[in-house]
C-alpha cells in the first residue's frame, strides 16, 4: 500500500489579510470588528474626519484629504471624498502593499465612503489583493439623493471589487426591537456585518476538509448587485446540528430561511471540532434542503478545527438580486481597469440591448492574484471582472423578490395597530407572524433525534474519545425543554437557591 500523506492545505497567513474601514460608518464597523476580535488580521481606518479617527481602536489610521478638508468630514459630497482619497493615495498604497486579501467596509451614501471607495478598491487591486467589499446602503429616510450617490458608487464597486456584499440598512431595523435605543440598533447592525466579515475570513483562511475557497464565495455572491443573505449560527451539545442551523436561519437577513427560497447559489460552511460526525453533517444538510430550492447550487464546505471544541458552527451565504436591479440590467463596462473616468463621468444606464452571453472569458486585464503564493492555487479567483460581467449581462432574473413584504413592515408601522374599539381584534400581520413562527418551530421538531450511533469520523482521528453527552445545562424540572426564561441574563426557571450560590 502506498501511504498517502494528506498535505496540509495552504493557508493564508492572517498577516496577509487587511480589513479597511472607510468613512464614518466604515470606521464604526471596523471598531466593532476590532472589539469582537479578528484572529490577527490587520485593521486600517481611513477617514476625512479626524475626530472619528482619533477615537478609533484600529492599529493603523490614515487621514484623508489632509490639505483638502483639513480634518473635517467630506460633508456628504462624494467628489470631495474622491479628491481626498487621491491625496492620500501613496500612503494607502504603502499600507496595502503585499496584502493578499482586503476587506473593505463602507457605509454608502455619504461623502468619504462613496467618493473614496472606488479608488481605494482600485488601489488595492493594483497592489495585487483580492478585494471583498462590505457595503451598507443608506436608510430610506435619508432621502433619494444619498440613495442615488450610494447606487452610483455601488455600480462602480460592482465592476472593481472581486466580491461585493451589500447590506440594506432598512433591513437592519428588524435586528432590534422597536423600543431599543439607536445605539443598540447600530451596534446590532455593525455586529451583523462583523459576523459576516469574520465568517468570510474563516472561510478563506482555514483550510477545509471539503474546501471552500474564494471561487465558491464569489459564485455565491455572484449576483453582484445584490443583497447579501448571511446567517451564522453556533451551537453545542446533543442537538447541535439542528440548533446551529436554527441559529443561522434566525438571522434577520435570512428571514427565518424564507429568503433562501429564491436563492440560486447557497454557500454552506460547517466548522466543527474533531468530533464532527458525518451523520451530523448529513442531518444538517437534510434540514437545510427544506429551505433551499432543489435547483439551487449548494456549495458545501466543512472544516475540522480543533479549537472549536465541541461547538459546531454553520455559515450560510447567498445573495439575492435586488428587485429593481434585476429588472434593469446595466451596461457592461470593460473598462474595469480604468474606473476613475467612469466614476467621475456618467452613471451606467440600463441598456436593454445587452444580451445575455454564455461566457466571457478573456476580457481580463488584471491577472488573478494568486493568494497562496507559489503553491497550488486552490481558491483561484478566476478573474473577477469577467465573472461579474458575465453575470451582470444575464438580464432580468426570474427571481421574485420575497423580501419586499417583509421590508414593507418596518417597526415604525404604527398605523396597523388596532384601534381601541375592538381591543382583542388582532392585526393580520401578527397572525401571519404567528403562523410563520409556528411553521418555523415545527421544523425544529419534526425530525426525531436519533442516537448518534453511526459515527464516521470526518476529521483526523482524535486521541481523546468522543465527548459524552455533557450535562452542562442544569436539569430544569417541569420546565425542561421550554425556551429559557431569561431576565437580566439569569434563567428564572432555575432555583435562585442554586444560582446565587455560584
Amino acid at each position: 500500500m502506498i501511504p498517502y500523506h494528506r498535505t496540509p492545505q495552504p493557508t493564508l497567513p492572517s498577516s496577509a489579510v487587511k480589513i479597511v474601514g472607510l468613512g464614518g460608518a466604515g470606521v464604526n464597523m471596523l471598531e466593532r470588528v476590532a472589539l469582537d476580535g479578528t484572529e490577527g488580521a490587520e485593521l486600517l481606518a481611513l477617514n476625512t474626519d479626524v475626530r472619528t479617527l482619533t477615537g478609533c481602536v484600529a492599529g493603523e489610521k490614515i487621514q484623508l484629504g489632509r490639505d483638502l478638508t483639513k480634518g473635517l468630514g467630506a460633508g456628504g459630497d462624494p467628489e470631495l471624498g474622491h479628491q481626498a482619497m487621491l491625496e492620500a493615495e501613496t500612503e494607502i498604497r504603502d499600507s496595502l502593499r503585499g496584502r493578499k486579501i482586503v476587506f473593505l467596509c463602507i457605509g454608502l451614501g455619504g461623502g468619504t465612503g462613496s467618493g473614496g471607495a472606488p479608488i481605494l478598491t482600485r488601489i488595492a487591486r493594483e497592489e495585487g489583493a483580492f478585494v471583498v467589499v462590505f457595503a451598507t446602503m443608506p436608510f430610506a429616510f435619508e432621502g433619494r439623493r444619498r440613495r442615488e450617490q450610494a447606487e452610483t458608487t455601488l455600480n462602480e464597486l460592482a465592476v472593481l471589487a472581486n466580491a461585493l456584499v451589500t447590506f440594506d440598512n432598512n433591513r437592519m431595523g428588524e435586528l432590534v426591537l422597536a423600543k431599543q435605543g439607536i445605539h443598540e440598533a447600530f451596534a446590532a447592525a455593525d455586529h451583523m456585518i462583523c459576523e459576516s466579515i469574520k465568517a468570510v475570513i474563516r472561510l478563506v483562511v482555514r483550510p477545509g476538509l471539503i474546501n471552500i475557497g474564494l471561487d465558491d464565495l464569489m459564485s455565491a455572491l455572484r449576483t453582484n448587485r445584490s443583497r447579501c443573505l448571511f446567517g451564522s449560527g453556533i451551537a453545542k451539545g446533543k442537538d447541535r446540528a439542528a440548533s446551529a442551523l436554527r441559529n443561522a436561519l434566525a438571522s434577520p437577513l435570512l428571514d427565518q430561511g424564507a429568503l433562501l427560497k429564491a436563492a440560486q447559489t447557497v454557500l454552506v460552511h460547517l466548522c466543527g471540532g474533531e468530533d464532527l460526525t458525518l451523520y451530523e453533517v448529513e442531518l444538517l444538510m437534510q434540514r437545510l434542503q427544506k429551505f433551499v430550492p432543489e435547483s439551487a447550487h449548494v456549495l458545501f464546505g466543512a472544516v475540522v478545527d480543533p479549537t472549536m471544541g465541541d461547538n459546531l458552527s454553520v455559515t450560510l451565504i447567498s445573495a439575492l438580486p435586488e428587485d429593481s436591479l434585476a429588472a434593469a440590467p446595466r451596461q457592461l463596462s470593460h473598462a474595469a481597469e480604468n474606473p476613475s473616468t467612469e466614476a467621475a463621468g456618467e452613471s451606467p444606464l440600463p441598456t436593454p440591448t445587452a444580451q445575455p452571453k454564455p461566457r466571457r472569458i478573456s476580457s481580463v486585464d488584471n491577472p488573478a492574484p494568486s493568494l497562496f503564493g507559489e503553491e497550488t492555487p486552490i481558491a483561484q479567483p478566476t478573474a473577477a471582472p469577467s465573472v461579474q460581467a458575465e453575470f451582470r449581462s444575464a438580464g432580468p432574473l426570474p427571481v421574485e423578490e420575497p423580501s419586499s413584504p417583509a421590508v414593507s413592515v418596518p417597526p415604525a408601522d404604527i398605523d396597523s395597530l388596532p384601534e381601541e374599539e375592538d381591543t382583542y381584534d388582532v392585526t393580520p400581520n401578527s397572525s401571519e407572524s404567528a403562523s410563520a413562527t409556528a411553521a418555523h418551530s415545527g421544523v425544529g421538531l419534526d425530525e426525531p433525534s436519533e442516537p448518534e450511533s453511526p459515527k464516521l469520523k470526518l476529521g483526523v482521528k482524535s486521541l481523546t474519545p468522543q465527548n459524552e453527552l455533557s450535562f452542562d445545562s442544569t436539569p430544569r424540572g417541569r420546565f425542561e425543554g421550554q425556551s429559557p426564561n431569561v431576565v437580566d441574563g439569569e434563567d428564572l426557571d432555575l432555583p435562585p437557591f442554586l444560582r446565587k450560590k455560584k
Binding site: 426591537l177 422597536a178 423600543k179 413592515v409 417597526p411 415604525a412 408601522d413 404604527i414 396597523s416 395597530l417 388596532p418 381601541e420 374599539e421 381591543t423 382583542y424 381584534d425 388582532v426 392585526t427 400581520n429 401578527s430 397572525s431 407572524s433 404567528a434 413562527t437 442544569t474 436539569p475 430544569r476 424540572g477 417541569r478 420546565f479 421550554q482 426564561n485 431576565v487 428564572l492 426557571d493 432555575l494 432555583p495 435562585p496 437557591f497 442554586l498 446565587k500
Partner: protein
C-alpha cells in the same frame, strides 16, 4: 343608575387553576357572587396555553361546575389574560392648540390622545388597554377632560398595555370554541386591582402583586391612576420546581412540603428543625431540613419581588402611601408579608374581598381575586355603557373605569 340586576361572568385561565366566577350586580351596585367553578388547569404554563385540547377540557369542566353552582346559563365571559409577553408602558401625547384658538375643543383632546396612543410597540403586538391616566393643561393636572377650558397645550397621559396578538388570540379562541362569547379581555393585574383596591387606596398609591401558579402580575396605582403594570413569568410552580430540583423530591411531595411546611420569612428562628411529610401509615415519608426548604422558598420569592421592584418606575415605591396588596395563591405562603416588607419597606396587605354577599368563606381566598375582580371590572364597564354615549362616549367608556 342601573335599574335591574345584571349577571356577569369572569373567567381566569390560570397556570394552576381555571376559575369561573358568576356574579350578580344588584341595582344598588352591590355585587353578589352566585357561584364559582374551579378546576385544576392542565396545558397552561407561565400563564400561556401550550396544550390546547387539555386547556379546553379544563375550561369546559369549570364551566359546568360554575353553571351548576350558580344555576345560570353562561353565554359570555370577561376573560383575564396574562403572560410575560404583556407589557405596560406610559406614553404622553402633547398637542399645542392652533394659533388663535384659546379654548380647548373636543378635537384637540382627541388629537392629544391620538398622539399618546401612537407608541412604538413591536409589530406583532396589539393594544390590550389604552388607559387614560391624566390630562395636563399647560402643565397643570386635570383629572377629567379639559374641554372648554382656556389653555395653550393639552397633554394626555396614557398607560398602554400591549401583548403579542397571536397568543392573546389563542386564549380568545379557546373560549370561543367552548363555545362562549368574550365580552372583553382584561390584563389580569388590572382586574385584580379592581377587587383589591378602592378609590382611596388608588389615590394614596398602591401596588397590587398577584403571585399565581405560573406568573407574578403587578399593577401600580399612583394618584388615582395606573402607573405601571406587567407580568413576570415566575410563580408558585417555580417554588415547587425549585424544591424538586434542590432536594430531589417528587413534584407531588415538593408541592405538599411547600404548602404544609414552607415559610418565606427572613426570620431564622422559623428555620429550625426538620420538615416531615407523613404518609398514610404514619411513617415519615420525606424529611427535609427546614433551613434548606425555607431558604429555597425565600430566595425564589425574594428574587421575584426584586424583579417587580426593578420594573417599577424609579422612586415610585416611595410614593406608595396605602401599601402593597398581595394576592394570588402563592401569597398564602407563610411569612410572605415579612419578606415583602423587607423588600419594599411599605405596609403589606393581603386584601379581603369587600362588599360581597353570598357564601363568604371561599371568596376570602386570594386565589379568586382576579376572577372576582373581573366582575367588578365588568360592573364598572357596564355602568359606563349604560350612560348615553356623549361626544366621547364610545372612547371614554374604555378608559373611564381605571381612573378619572
Amino acid at each position: 343608575m342601573a335599574r335591574h340586576s345584571k349577571i356577569h361572568v369572569g373567567l381566569e385561565i390560570g397556570t394552576s387553576k381555571t376559575c369561573i366566577v358568576v356574579g350578580e350586580v344588584k341595582p344598588d351596585t352591590a355585587v353578589k357572587i352566585l357561584g364559582i367553578g374551579t378546576t385544576k388547569t392542565a396545558g397552561v404554563r407561565k400563564g400561556e396555553i401550550y396544550d390546547f385540547p387539555q386547556a379546553r377540557a379544563c375550561l369546559k369542566d369549570a364551566l359546568v361546575k360554575a353553571e351548576d353552582a350558580s344555576d345560570v346559563e353562561i353565554g359570555s365571559v370577561y376573560l383575564a389574560i396574562t403572560g410575560s409577553h404583556i407589557q405596560g408602558l406610559n406614553s404622553r401625547g402633547t398637542f399645542r392648540l392652533p394659533e388663535g384658538q384659546s379654548i380647548v375643543a373636543p378635537e384637540h383632546v382627541e388629537e392629544a390622545r391620538g398622539i399618546a396612543r401612537d407608541v412604538h410597540i413591536p409589530p406583532d403586538h396589539v393594544h390590550i388597554h389604552p388607559i387614560i391616566r391624566n390630562y395636563l393643561l399647560d402643565d397643570l393636572e386635570h383629572h377629567s377632560s379639559p374641554v372648554g377650558l382656556y389653555g395653550k397645550t393639552v397633554e394626555a397621559d396614557f398607560h398602554i398595555v400591549h401583548g403579542m396578538g397571536a397568543r392573546i388570540q389563542n386564549s380568545i379562541r379557546l373560549v370561543r370554541e367552548t363555545p362562549l362569547e368574550v365580552d372583553d379581555i382584561v390584563f389580569s393585574p388590572i382586574a385584580t386591582a379592581q377587587m383589591a383596591l378602592d378609590d382611596e387606596q388608588r389615590e394614596r398609591g398602591a401596588l397590587v402583586i398577584d403571585i399565581g401558579g405560573g406568573t407574578t402580575d403587578y399593577a401600580l396605582y399612583l394618584d388615582g391612576a395606573i402607573a405601571a403594570s406587567g407580568c413576570i413569568p415566575v410563580g408558585g410552580d417555580h417554588i415547587t420546581n425549585d424544591i424538586h430540583l434542590v432536594t430531589g423530591l417528587a413534584f407531588s411531595n415538593s408541592e405538599k412540603l411547600k404548602i404544609m411546611a414552607g415559610d418565606a420569612s427572613p426570620d431564622l428562628s422559623r428555620s429550625v428543625g426538620v420538615a416531615k411529610l407523613v404518609d398514610d401509615r404514619g411513617y415519615a415519608e420525606v424529611e427535609v431540613s427546614r433551613s434548606i426548604l425555607n431558604e429555597i422558598i425565600r430566595q425564589r420569592l425574594e428574587e421575584t419581588l426584586q424583579l417587580v421592584y426593578q420594573r417599577l418606575p424609579q422612586d415610585s415605591v416611595k410614593s406608595i402611601g396605602a401599601g402593597i396588596f398581595l394576592t394570588g395563591g402563592t401569597s398564602l405562603m407563610r411569612g410572605f408579608s415579612e419578606l415583602a416588607f423587607q423588600v419594599f419597606g411599605r405596609d403589606i396587605y393581603r386584601p379581603e374581598p369587600p362588599e360581597i354577599s353570598g357564601v363568604q368563606a371561599s371568596f376570602k381566598d386570594p386565589q379568586y381575586a382576579t376572577a372576582i375582580g373581573l366582575i367588578r371590572y365588568a360592573q364598572i364597564l357596564e355602568t359606563e355603557r349604560a350612560t348615553p354615549p356623549g361626544l366621547f362616549g364610545k372612547v371614554s367608556r374604555l378608559f373611564w373605569p381605571f381612573g378619572k
